[in-house]
């Protein structure tokens, strides 16, 4: 019975994640395509549609994982179990999207001109890492997925005021993407070079994402409340 409940919880999370992921991807694609069509004419839609659809996936993973945090808060009382589930769905989604680009990338096209300038580095990184060696593929997408999952603690800042988590989450999702784009920038590389470490851009980004993940998990252990574990209202 316990196993059935756990299975049911997991399926609920996966289902919520997938639905949110698809909806977010479609919404983001539509918004960015409309922007491109307004700026460059309707003819440009055909050229950039595939590229934008694929490029929106990292942002969709972030949106979906943040929405899933609240369901995990309600269904899991163990941090470890929660993180495991979140890391798994996040990594699976990122890997799935990466594989899609790896094997069918050419069919989608690679025009990312329609994307907002702040998001372009993330989209370009996603395409680059998707077609890189399997080691870089796993490391890049895995650390990205883990960093997103580690943001779970931000929705449990206060047990007395769960509303805090609800208000922090949207901003935190935007901040996570922004932070990741900073990790992809030149200054982040420069930090490593300054320390005498010569790594590729993918590796430095993974290293910084891992550090962020560890920091967030540490924050969770020290300050965040334990997940409630069961639906309290409704």
């Amino acid at each position: 019975m316990v196993q059935f409940c756990q299975m049911k919880s997991l399926l609920a999370i996966v289902f919520r994640f997938l639905i949110t992921f698809i909806v977010a991807d479609l919404c983001l694609t539509m918004a960015w395509i409309i922007g491109a069509a307004l700026d460059h004419g309707l003819d440009s839609v055909r050229l950039v549609l595939g590229g934008v659809l694929v490029s929106a996936m990292p942002a969709s993973v972030v949106a979906a994982i943040f929405i899933s945090f609240f369901l995990v808060n309600r269904l899991y009382s163990s941090r470890i179990a929660g993180y495991a589930v979140l890391a798994a769905v996040s990594a699976a989604a990122a890997a799935g999207a990466g594989l899609l680009v790896r094997f069918f990338g050419a069919a989608f096209g690679s025009d990312v001109s329609a994307l907002p300038s702040l998001y372009k580095p993330v989209a370009e990184w996603f395409r680059r890492v998707s077609v890189a060696s399997w080691a870089e593929f796993s490391l890049g997408l895995g650390t990205f997925a883990l960093m997103n999952a580690a943001c779970w603690s931000l929705t449990r800042l206060s047990r007395n005021r769960p509303l805090f988590g609800a208000f922090v989450a949207p901003g935190a999702a935007l901040a996570a993407l922004y932070l990741f784009s900073i990790y992809l920038s030149g200054p982040a590389d420069a930090v490593f070079r300054l320390a005498g470490i010569d790594l590729s851009r993918t590796m430095t980004t993974s290293a910084l994402a891992t550090c962020t993940t560890l920091g967030l998990v540490l924050f969770d252990a020290l300050f965040a409340m334990k997940p409630a574990g069961a639906p309290r209202h409704g």
């Binding site: 307004l38 007395n160 005021r161 509303l163 949207p170 209202h233 409704g234």
Partner: protein
């Protein structure tokens, strides 16, 4: 169990007060970088604070709604709970929307005006300083006029204006000296010629004296002496006729009156000839010398009236710009014959009686093309006057420069009138500054005058969306409040202390949604016909409200009953 009434209004009003205070503090901190003149500082800061309220109002309504429902003990699901918060939320949403739609554009326009005026003041001050250094006193005087219209008490203006006025006086004196010294010398004559000429005047003087014409006798004797001064009988005649005049002639006062009369007559002649500017100069000079003369006052007024048909006074321009400064301006009108008239100006001021421009360029295509520039211009009805006169110093005149052979004169008949210019000015300014009534009715006019209509449609869509947005956010806030109830209800102090943090957290995501809405409005404005735009947009907003109602119910954990 008795239900605690959600303190929606109290939380919302407290947050609005906090928003005003924070907005004012931010404005206070940023005024140093804004370049706004000290004269406008307090008004500008207050407006910035009021605009901050308008900008943060959606987030405030969301948070107020969430906090109210978070503390409520409603247990009949979303519908019942939402009803509790919706009544005050709707009232507040209506009030905030009215504020946003009717007051905010006027405030935004005033803020822009303060910023433009401050910028114009600084630019004019810099321009005057440079013109003074290069000796372009006319340009310096013009820039000083612009400064005076904005803030005549500013220390920088007072100091520079003193220097400019001094230079003007020096230049005027130098000009007068030069004119005096450049008079051609009289042609040389022989002594015999002079004697003969002088003798003729002498004989005429004697005849005039014999006939009792003492003025003529003295005048002719003086002329004779002036031509040939060596004859003592002539000098004697001059003295004798002068003595006769002194005995019989008018007093010094009468002579002064005669001179005054002569000047008045000269002014009158200029007035009759239609040279209103010279007439005005003569009468204004006489008015400053002789106050209270009825003729001078009457003809000064009439010459000013006459002058107003071919020029206007810069004081009108200064007065208009002191009340209003609309920044740059452009209007393009295509007539039925296919000719295109384009008027551009660096500045525009709209007054009740006329519209004033600075640094205009007017071009008209067609069979008789015209291209003219002028530093000042006034549009009254459909007549554009291109000559400006300084009332206090009528010597200072700013005139148009025609770059085509076809044009001439100081007045032009335009294919649009002052109302059209004012309307185009409003519609071509920042869309956020346009009053809602003009925005709703002016899009067609904007199309006719060659302006881009898409920004206006998008702004109209944004204004229309505001009441829907605050309603949607109040609903979502209610859903969040019910869904994320605290284990222990927070104290009032905690609630009020944490509320600004919630508002700050909500601003960025709301901004993103606003950007998406802006994109949707742009898409509809671009791809739909003007007739379909508003119904489609209202339909879209209605759909958003319905979706948000279901989403809120879903977040709250209950379905809508």
């Amino acid at each position: 169990m008795a239900e605690r009434k959600p303190a929606y209004m109290a939380v919302a009003l407290a947050l609005f007060a906090m928003a005003f205070a924070i907005g004012f503090l931010i404005a206070l901190a940023s005024i140093g970088h804004s370049g706004v003149l000290f004269r406008f500082a307090v008004s500008w800061e207050s407006i910035k604070a009021a605009l901050a309220i308008a900008g943060w109002a959606p987030a405030i309504l969301l948070v107020a709604s969430a906090l109210a429902m978070e503390s409520s003990e409603a247990h009949d699901g979303f519908t019942g709970a939402a009803a509790q918060v919706l009544a005050p939320a709707l009232i507040l949403a209506a009030l905030v929307s009215i504020f946003y739609l009717l007051v905010v554009p006027a405030l935004a326009e005033r803020k822009t005006r303060y910023e433009n005026k401050s910028q114009l003041f600084v630019d004019s001050l810099r321009g005057a300083e440079e013109a003074l250094q290069t000796g372009s006193l006319e340009v310096a005087a013009r820039d000083m006029l612009a400064c005076a219209a904005i803030d005549a008490l500013d220390e920088r203006y007072v100091e520079l204006n003193e220097r400019v006025q001094k230079s003007l006086v020096v230049a005027k004196a130098a000009k007068a000296d030069k004119a005096a010294s450049s008079k051609p010398p009289a042609p040389s004559r022989t002594e015999d010629d002079d004697w003969a000429e002088a003798n003729r005047f002498y004989l005429e003087a004697l005849r005039a004296r014999a006939e009792g014409r003492l003025f003529d006798a003295h005048y002719l004797a003086k002329r004779s002496a002036a031509i040939y001064s060596k004859r003592p009988e002539v000098r004697r005649l001059v003295n004798e006729t002068w003595n006769d005049l002194q005995r019989l002639g008018p007093s010094a006062e009468q002579r002064g009156e005669a001179a005054l009369y002569k000047r008045k007559l000269e002014g009158y002649e200029r007035f009759q000839e239609g040279d209103f500017l010279t007439a005005y100069r003569i009468y204004s000079e006489l008015a400053s010398e002789v106050g209270g003369d009825a003729d001078i006052a009457a003809y000064l007024k009439r010459s000013a009236e006459g002058l107003s048909t071919i020029a206007f006074f810069t004081e009108e321009d200064v007065r208009a710009f002191s009340r209003f400064d609309g920044g740059s301006f452009k209007i393009s009108v295509t007539s039925l014959d296919g000719s295109v008239a384009i008027l551009t100006a660096s500045r525009i001021a709209i007054a009740d009686e006329a519209v004033y421009f600075r640094n205009i360029l007017y071009t008209r295509t067609g069979s008789e093309p015209v291209r003219v520039r002028a530093p000042f211009a006034r549009l009254h009805g459909d007549t554009l006057l291109l000559r400006a006169v300084d009332r206090d110093h009528p010597d200072m005149v700013w005139e148009p420069t025609y770059e085509t052979a076809a044009g001439s004169g100081f007045a032009l008949r335009l294919p649009f009138n002052q109302e059209d210019a004012a309307r185009v000015h409003w519609l071509s300014g920042a869309p956020s500054d346009i009053p809602i009534n003009l925005l709703a009715t002016g899009i067609e006019d904007a199309r006719r005058y060659g302006l881009k209509t898409e920004p206006l449609q998008v702004e109209l869509a944004g204004r229309m969306a505001y009441p829907f947005a605050v309603l949607i956010l109040a609903l979502l806030g209610a859903g969040l409040g019910i869904r994320f109830k605290p284990t222990v209800p927070p104290s009032t102090a905690t609630k009020y202390l944490t509320a600004p943090i919630f508002v700050a957290l909500a601003i960025a995501p709301i901004q993103m949604v606003e950007d998406a809405g802006h994109l949707a409005a742009r898409a509809m404005a671009t791809w739909l016909s003007p007739a379909l735009f508003i119904p489609a947009w209202l339909g879209f907003l209605g759909a958003c409200v319905v979706i948000s109602l279901f989403v809120s119910a879903r977040i709250a954990g209950r379905s809508v009953r």
